[in-house]
């Protein structure tokens, strides 16, 4: 059974078919890239699946259950998490608190008013482990707003990861980061994802990153899936190269 399956999923904004009757499946344990030019529908697809916006028509199934109209909260409970293209963090909280919050929420402890957050050593220790995995433990006490762009992108993913999701959507995890920093970030992300057995869908524009890290690539164009296959298959797909890659490939 597929972990995630969308059937004829559609969303339009006015006359624009942002997502046009998309059938998209993801198997458990996969790490795949979602590519396409701007406006292809990648972020909208993620927004639909993660629950930020409701679809116009179509169906989304997660582990066999229909989650088309489920709330964000419910989807997170089921194990779907996401990071954001434009970094979304709790800027005034410390780096560590950003992660502990995700853990508290996952454990249902955010309902607790009369216990001190800092006194929960189990949660704190787990947060430190997560930060170490992401190379952010040195910045644990700094306010999230004060980090560099690369650190913020990593923290954004770390917060989603701390929810221990089954399916993780990463929306352009290396955008806005210098080329030098991209590989280390992707190394960390793929390492974390693999060791956690997490299924990951990564939206990316940087084709070097895509071809290096993702064994499966799904290419979107104008709301539909254009191609779906291995890096070699995608590279040799004429439509994809025409629409997205340019005629010269590495």
């Amino acid at each position: 059974m597929d972990l995630l399956k969308t059937t004829q999923l559609s969303k339009s904004f006015g006359d624009t078919h942002a997502v046009d009757h998309v059938d998209f499946t993801v198997a458990a344990g996969e790490v795949l890239a979602l590519i396409g030019s701007n406006g292809a529908g990648k972020t909208t697809l993620i927004n639909l699946i993660s629950g930020l916006i409701p679809p116009d028509s179509g169906r989304i199934d997660f582990q066999g259950a229909d989650i088309t109209r489920a709330s964000i909260h419910h989807k997170i409970e089921l194990g779907i998490a996401r990071s954001f293209q434009l970094v979304n963090l709790f800027d005034q909280l410390t780096v560590q608190d950003n992660v502990t919050l995700a853990i508290f929420s996952r454990e249902g402890r955010t309902r607790r008013l009369f216990s001190l957050a800092d006194a929960d050593t189990a949660v704190r220790d787990e947060a430190v482990v997560v930060l170490k995995q992401f190379g952010l433990d040195g910045r644990a006490g700094a306010p999230a707003g004060g980090l560099s762009q690369g650190e913020r992108k990593l923290l954004d993913v770390a917060v989603a990861y701390a929810l221990r999701p089954k399916l993780l959507f990463l929306d352009e995890p290396t955008s806005g980061v210098s080329t030098r920093e991209k590989a280390p970030i992707m190394d960390i992300i793929t390492q974390v994802v693999r060791s956690g057995g997490i299924t990951a869908v990564i939206v990316e524009h940087d084709m070097d990153v895509v071809f290096t890290y993702c064994p499966r690539i799904v290419a979107m164009h104008q709301g539909s899936i254009l191609a779906d296959g291995t890096p070699d298959q995608i590279r040799s797909n004429a439509q994809v190269t025409a629409n997205m890659l340019g005629t010269q490939t590495a």
Binding site: I72, R82, N88, D91, L93, L101, S105, L113, V159, L163
Partner: protein, 324 residues
């Protein structure tokens, strides 16, 4: 030093001498000063409640006079209809009544954006204010309702003959005790996982949702707690004042709460407390000087926003960080 112990230990370190000073004060200064400070402590409790919403949840309410007033009128109704004079009954009544009203108003208010939230809260408190006039046979209209001095601790402490004496001794210590409890409870709440969730909502509503925190629900709970603290303050205030009138339901009173919270600095825990106490003295002094009291508040507020957005406590904190 572990992160767990640092904050509470630091707080206890300098709050102990402050508390000691507060306890000793009535024996050192004339009674009217103690009564004046009682008013300040009452406003400080209201400030704690108000800032749970502003500083920690990012919601600026212009209608908190509603809960203060509900707390006060609940006390007056308990005197008028239940014929009770126990302070404990007053506090319970104030908490229940303001909690109920906050729960009701909160259902409407917390779904909306900052601007709508602000004006909606103001409008709702104005509705209550106008109801206080309309139902004058219940509320005493513009004359208000008198409230006699209560008995404390289930009748153990009563006013002897001199009301001033009672207020500056027995009642003051009662208010101080409630204040300490209120500070402790609020301190735990804002440092709890729930408190962190509120701050997350303040910082990034979308991400909070995507971390599994149901934003409007948490905002509602914060709204109710905030209302209860403010209502508690209202209940404590009435015996000091001897009388409750519609004035405390009017938006100008909400404005004072906004003002002293911003004055002290809404980004720190104790800022609003200090702001409330300073404001109390400021108001007491200035009212003798000028009738254009609102203008003074307005000008200071404008100056604060333009020059000192962190408020007094916040700015002091920043200066300390810079000097370190």
């Amino acid at each position: 030093m572990s992160a767990v112990g640092a904050a509470p230990r630091r707080m206890l370190a300098w709050s102990a001498p402050v508390l000691a000073a507060l306890i000793v004060l009535p024996f050192l200064v004339p009674p009217w000063q103690t009564v004046l400070l009682s008013y300040g402590l009452v406003l400080a409790i209201a400030a704690l409640g108000f800032n749970l919403l502003l500083g920690y949840t990012g919601l600026l309410s212009f209608g908190h006079s509603a809960y203060f007033g509900v707390g006060a009128y609940a006390v007056a109704f308990i005197v008028k209809y239940a014929k009770l004079e126990s302070m404990e009954a007053f506090l319970l009544g104030g908490i229940v009544a303001s909690g109920f009203v906050a729960a009701l108003f909160g259902l409407l208010c917390v779904r909306y954006t900052k601007i709508f939230f602000g004006i909606l809260t103001m409008a709702l408190s104005q509705v209550l204010w106008s109801l206080a006039f309309k139902f004058f046979w219940v509320t005493g209209g513009s004359d208000g309702l008198r409230v006699p001095t209560p008995t404390l601790l289930g009748g153990l402490v009563r006013v002897g003959g001199d009301k001033q004496d009672f207020l500056s001794r027995g009642y003051y210590f009662y208010v101080l005790a409630v204040f300490v409890v209120a500070v402790a409870v609020m301190w735990v709440i804002v440092h709890s996982p729930f408190g962190k969730a509120l701050q997350a909502i303040r910082d990034n509503e979308t991400r909070a949702e995507f971390v599994g925190v149901q934003v409007w629900h948490y905002r509602w709970v914060a709204f109710v707690i905030s209302g209860i603290f403010t209502g508690l303050a209202g209940a404590l205030w009435v015996p000091l004042n001897g009388l409750t009138t519609p004035d405390i339901l009017h938006w100008t009173f909400s404005g004072k709460m906004v003002f002293f919270t911003v004055l002290g600095g809404f980004q720190t825990f104790f800022g609003p407390v200090i702001g409330a106490i300073i404001f109390n003295y400021l108001e007491n002094w200035a009212v003798g000087y000028t009738v254009y009291w609102q203008m003074v508040l307005g000008v200071v507020l404008v100056v604060l926003v333009l020059a000192l957005p962190a408020g007094i406590v916040g700015t002091v904190k920043r200066m300390k960080v810079k000097a370190a």
